[in-house]
């Protein structure tokens, strides 16, 4: 069974109460810029998609490889919108 990955992210302050109320991650501490939460996951992909889907400026602070993966996911998603949509393209988003 895969080892857990521990990752720390910084969220906007307005999400602090929502994260706490729904037990998303464990609280680390808050700063004047945001609130830190620590996550322990077996697989980082769902975590990254969840973070991206929040549509809020979230910063992954550690570890570096998870932060880099988050940037890569964000940029590959953005690349879908670089050009006008090709509605005739077979295979869609993953082709």
């Amino acid at each position: 069974m895969a080892r857990r990955v521990r990752s720390t992210s910084c969220f906007p302050l307005e999400l602090a109460a929502w994260l706490e109320r729904n037990h998303y991650g464990e609280p680390v501490h808050a700063t004047e810029h945001g609130v830190r939460r620590r996550f322990q996951v077996r697989s980082i992909e769902p975590l990254l998609r969840w973070l991206l889907g929040l549509d809020r400026p979230v910063r992954i602070e550690a570890p570096d490889d998870v932060a880099a993966a988050f940037r890569a996911l964000s940029e590959s998603t953005l690349s879908r919108y670089a050009d006008p949509a090709d509605t005739t393209r077979p295979g869609g988003a993953s082709s």
């Binding site: 307005e14 999400l15 929502w18 889907g53 400026p57 988003a93």
Partner: protein, 341 residues
């Protein structure tokens, strides 16, 4: 423990349910004692769960997580397992008509094979048959497909849900501290008159009269941060109020606020199967699917699409594509990372 797959599956259901209800680190030996098997066999079941995610659609593998550190060679003492779920085991069970029909058949068959307990099996079968009949006949009194209205909250649903349910039953106006979905919007307090709790698409919603909007509104319960009683006189629901009318046949809650717009989204083949279970979709030759969403909340569409990363893409309208691009550029600007290689 039997080697038959059906028996292993049965044991797995028992183990998952047991771990979920314990809601704490459980020594492997306790789990083994509960199932009447060895620690080795418990590990084998856990490994079966571990091997499953690769076969699941995107997003499903994080719904149930099992935290477990493999034991040392000769030391099983102190090795524990903890099961975390984001909600699938908490929400009421929902069945599509074909699933309910299959279960009804199975239960009738079981009743024939088990005469001693036939009445119990038949009663269960009757409930599923009723569900199928109502769904197929379009009985106006029946819940919409895949939707439960006013289901008793399960244990662990939280004090907010329990409070809201009490206010609904007492017909008591209340104040909600609500986190709106709009980016950067701070939580705000709303005075509402709660009418019904609805469970749709895996989430609880409160349908209430909103004093601010002077209209019916739905509130996602997980976004309610606090709730308190008020002395405001209760605004009763209109005589023709029908919560089922606010839910479409795919179990989506229909907002009453805006006329909305239509958006086409393409989902890639790896997640197509999951998407098809949720929305009517048009499949292309590559296995990708296109769904035309009726969108009432633009922020919902943005969050919904980008959560799939590059596996989902808004095709139309173009202004929506531009908006999503701007959102992603904004998010990337705030990553504060060294440029990727």
């Amino acid at each position: 423990m039997s080697d038959r797959a059906a028996d292993a599956l049965s044991q797995l259901f028992l183990l998952i349910t047991y771990l979920h209800h314990r809601d704490t680190d459980v020594p492997l030996q306790d789990a083994a004692a509960f199932l009447g098997c060895s620690v080795d066999e418990i590990e084998r079941l856990l490994f079966a769960v571990r091997d499953r995610p690769a076969e699941l659609p995107s997003g499903y593998d994080d719904r149930i997580q099992i935290d477990y550190e493999p034991r040392d060679e000769d030391n099983v003492d102190g090795v524990t397992v903890y099961l975390h779920t984001t909600g699938p085991l908490r929400r009421p069970l929902r069945f599509a008509p074909d699933e309910a029909l299959a279960l009804a058949f199975a239960l009738r068959w079981r009743a024939l094979a088990d005469p001693d307990r036939a009445p119990a099996w038949q009663e269960l079968a009757r409930r599923f048959e009723l569900l199928v009949a109502r769904t197929v006949s379009g009985d106006g009194d029946a819940p919409a497909e895949g939707v439960d209205v006013d289901v008793q909250p399960s244990e662990g649903s939280g004090p907010i849900l329990a409070s809201l349910r009490a206010f609904v039953e007492e017909r008591c106006a209340c104040r909600l501290q609500y986190l709106k979905p709009a980016p950067s919007a701070p939580p705000e307090w709303r005075t509402v008159h709660p009418y019904r709790l609805v469970h749709a698409r895996g989430r609880w919603y409160l349908i209430a009269w909103c004093e601010l909007r002077q209209d019916l509104r739905s509130f996602r319960v997980d976004r309610v941060l606090d709730v308190e009683r008020t002395n405001v006189a209760f605004h009763p629901p209109p005589s023709d109020f029908d919560p089922h009318a606010l839910i479409d046949r795919f179990g989506r809650l229909l907002d009453t606020e805006a006329p909305g717009f239509s958006a086409k989204v393409r989902y890639s083949a790896p997640i197509a199967q999951w998407i098809q279970e949720r929305w009517p979709a048009e499949k292309d030759s590559s296995g990708a699917v296109i769904v035309e969403h009726r969108v009432l909340d633009l922020h919902w569409l943005v969050r919904h699409v980008i959560q799939y990363g590059p596996e989902a893409e808004v095709l139309e309208p173009d202004w929506c594509r531009q908006l999503i691009r701007q959102c992603l550029e904004f998010l990337i600007e705030h990553l504060e990372l060294a440029p990727s290689s």
